[in-house]
Amino acid sequence: MSPAPRHGRGRYDVIVVGAGLSGSLIAKELGDKGWRVLVLEAGTGTLDGWPGHLDALDTFYGALAKVPNSPYRPNAAAPSPDVLDVTGLPAGGYRARGYFVQNGPLPYSTDYLRARGGTVLHWLGLTPRMHPEDFRTRRTYGYGRDWPLGYDDLEPHYRAAERALGVAGDAAEQAAAVGLPFPDGYVYPMHAIPRSYVDDVFAARLDGATVREAPGAPGTTLRVTGTPHARNSTPDRRYDGGRGYRPAGAAGLPNYGERCVGNASCVPICPVQAKYTPLKTQATWDRRRVRLLTHAVVGRVLADGNGRALGVEYQEYEDPAAPVATTRTAEADVVVLAAHAIENARLLLVSRLAGHSDQVGRNLMDHPVLLGWGLARHPVGPFRGPASTSGLESFRTGPARRERAPFRIEISNWGWGWPAGSPGSDVARLLGIGAGPAQPRAKGVFGARLRTALGEEIGRQVSVQFLMEQEAEERNRVTVDRRHPDRLGNPRPVITYDLSERVKRGMAAARSVSEEIFRLLGAEDRTAYEPGPLSPGYFRFEGRGFAFNGAGHGGGTHIMGASRGTSVVDAWQRCWDHPNLYAVGCGSMPSMGTSNPSLTMAALALRSSERIHRDLTEAHRPAAVGPLSPEPVGDGRTEGPA
């Protein structure tokens, strides 16, 4: 019987910083292999139980702005950035407040969540794989940074991630329409999430049509293609050699959790937890070996003079509203930073580690999003189903990448929710209510006319989202500055961010494609980019105005590469300068292609856990776990016997 590790004093085999997607998967893998793992989560753990889940739902219902972080309560000890932190100025430009300090030409208006479960609590749940050519854009197209590994290296881990997250999709269609190689006969764990009526309307008008992204440019053929989701659908009997797949239910309420029932709120919260969250993985942790400590803000990674990570220093607090912290340390053979790209970079910078290449914090990326919106000719049933069930994949790959950023087009099922704040803004507008109380009010429409007008307008809303690849640029970066501390005295991230000309060229092409799409649909294009408070991402390019949004896909702050001189981590996400310090997550990605990155991040985490297991095995054997008394089921606090 091994002694129970004591947090604050004890030694662990592994310390994982962050109980989000990567951290939860790595803790699961290593705990199952017998290693003693301490997971330190800066945020609270209230979302783990069903009462916490219901509280988050109520908070979401009550929020005036239903932004991605709206269900999750603010935490002064572990603040999170919020998309509402950035507002546009009347003549262009932006103002930033909140957690980030921003000093770049354009705003970084993407958020994340510091809480047990992490940002993936409010993800949309789309899980497209990256395309093989996304891993080698430098070699193939002469821009960006290449990965030190390729699609083939990651392919088995993609499959493992698709199992761990419970992906529903159609592999044959992904192979045909996107060009993704799968092993023969591969099927996803679950059948594809049904496509929406919106998708069908798009497909009826767009499938097979050719559009040009600029006059004289070669034509591109459109095809509406279903998107894989980490969302419970119908299990596929053929999966896993005919063994099938059993979907994971909700965390926190036994025997609850069903197929997606179409709540249409994946971002920011799935009420029935049909969508994967890391809490589901945490529910399967071997609790004799994996110990979770929430309310533990890691402030520094400790290392010896030889570059060996010794452990971490963290601040433990109780009250997230008025935090008072006690500083403690924990030690382990391996330290894994899994705290989000920006937080990982911040920790490395504060700890003055992994700095040989001068790349820590640099190459900050996102998928800058351009929106297009219009009114269809007939009702399309918006605000139903997952936010997006299909996309147009033809602009993700190919030689056009030499000139402009590639992009993936998501067909939105949620009307003008993102571009215009519908349906709330529609109600206010028709009632004559303007931007604020001081603005003169129009007479307004009431009664049956109001009801009919809203039904006819909202019912026909369609929109498309263009997720642009953003290549790694050293100038886009996170730094720290002691003059900007948070409530616990930890330096806040300072963000310098801009879009390259190639991204802007991509947006110009996307805008043309957007116009073509609405023309083909026979829809009235209502897209308009104007400076103003709701358009902090407004800029002008080649004589036209554009406004972009953040996707919440932060990455690239501790990129992996083939050499110590030019990258922060190696192909295993292990810091070149510190053999037992891993920095995992989207921060490791040298390029993010046009795929929503969580699945790739999960695949990388699973791959790294294999390497960590080998590292540890070389050092010593896993501890045998005897018949320890397990902790009570559902005990979310998991405090050690310190």
């Binding site: 059948h191 049904p194 299990p235 009997r237 979907p247 239910g249 025997n255 959790g257 069903e258 089921v633």
Partner: protein, 397 residues
């Protein structure tokens, strides 16, 4: 059992004569045809409790009594699981489930069948009377031996639901011996509803293909309801590798007593865990004998009540199609039920149109009345309706 509450007050009985559910003869099923009659009766029985449970769930005022909501919801889903397992049993032995028939829906109030006592089962709002009825339905009790056993030689009728299911079990085992297992389980395996059609609801559906799976199905049905003797908990951990939960009786008991069972509690100790936030006032009181004809013709409430019954008739067809033609159709059953949710809550929140009942604080309600005419109309509307577009191509109705 000492912890059993007395029969609910309501058992003194509403004025109306409760409907009677047809019971099979008091004997062990003798042949295949007999077994079909018993299993069809079991299907009817499993369905009987669903409308009263749904009524309690959806009469809650918005946002209140969440613990109770999720507890009742879990029970409803397990009842649907049971109903589906019974359909699998019936299909497995070559029978044909009957759902979309006015005989299948007894009308409420109905007398609880297979019971020694006269227990009316009515559509009641969330409250102590409803919970007392539920407790009575799900109560664990001494289960008499099947008919023919010396210990029940003096009995002329059923004394408990447990006895009824024991009798089916005995009949199944005997017939499997007489006809051979392959001979008895000669149904079309394509009729079997599988785990891909229904999961994560306190267990999952599994196909019934022989005696072992048939007996397992009977075990799920009886153990999730009443539990296993001398424990509060069901056996989901053993049956499905899932978290065990208090059996239905004890889940209802928790709400009724506003306190949860702890891990070491027993039926004798009663619940000694944390208090539960249950507010009896936060429900819309309804008339347990409401009929559509009580609402003025042409009124909004009348139209809504009729719309509800039409949607209910459609749900019965969806279930019948899933059980008799293509299990994939079951995918459309949840959308059909959620439509019932939307239509019924609108009724419960509207004051009763009758001034006298309104003065008593009563609200309108969904009546779950089924006629052959409604069923005919509903059938003609198929295969349309919520959730049907997304059914896999080639689904058979």
């Amino acid at each position: 059992m000492s912890t059993l509450p007395p029969p609910p007050d309501a058992l003194a009985g509403p004025a109306a004569v409760p409907a009677r559910v047809e019971e099979p003869p008091f004997r062990v099923p003798r042949d295949r045809a007999d077994l079909h009659v018993f299993l069809q009766a079991a299907l009817t029985l499993e369905h009987l409790t669903i409308p009263p449970y749904l009524t309690a769930m959806y009469t809650l005022r918005p946002g209140t009594n969440r613990t109770a909501f999720y507890a009742i919801r879990a029970v409803v889903l397990e009842e649907m699981l049971h109903m589906t397992l019974v359909a699998n049993l019936l299909n497995a032995v070559g029978g044909k489930p009957l759902v979309a028939h006015s005989r299948f829906v007894t009308g409420y109030p109905a007398l609880l069948p297979y019971s020694r006592d006269r227990i009316p089962v009515a559509l009641r709002h969330f409250g102590t009377a409803a919970l007392d009825t539920f407790l009575y339905i799900e109560r664990p009790e001494y289960v008499a031996e099947p008919p023919g056993h010396p210990s029940v030689a003096g009995d002329t009728g059923w004394t408990s639901i447990g006895q009824f299911y024991n009798t089916i079990r005995t009949g199944l085992v005997r017939l499997a011996e007489e006809l051979g297992e392959a001979g008895l389980f000669n149904g079309d395996p394509r009729r079997q509803v599988g785990p891909e059609d229904f999961y994560n609801s306190g267990g999952e559906v599994f196909p019934v293909t022989g005696l072992a799976s048939a007996l397992k199905a009977l075990r799920v049905i009886t153990e999730q309801g009443e539990g296993v003797s001398r424990t509060v908990y069901n056996t989901d951990d053993q049956l499905f590798g899932e978290a065990r939960e208090p059996a239905h009786y004890f889940r209802f008991d928790e709400i009724r007593r506003r306190r949860s069972y702890g891990p070491h509690d027993t039926p004798a100790s009663g619940p000694t865990g944390p208090a539960l936030d249950v507010s009896w006032e936060d429900a819309y009181p309804i008339d347990p004998e409401a009929k559509v004809t009580h609402y003025p013709p042409g009124s909004a409430v009348r139209r809504a009540a009729e719309r509800f019954n039409a949607a209910y008739a459609r749900l019965l067809w969806v279930l019948e199609a899933a059980f008799t033609r293509d299990p994939a159709v079951l995918q459309a059953a949840v959308p059909a039920m959620l439509q019932l949710r939307d239509l019924s809550v609108q009724l419960y929140r509207n004051p009763h149109p009758d001034p006298a009942r309104r003065a008593r604080g009563l609200y309108a309600s969904a009546t779950y009345e089924i006629t052959e005419e409604l069923l005919g109309e509903a059938r003609r509307s198929l295969p349309g309706g919520p959730g049907t577009t997304a059914l896999p191509s080639g689904t058979r109705w």
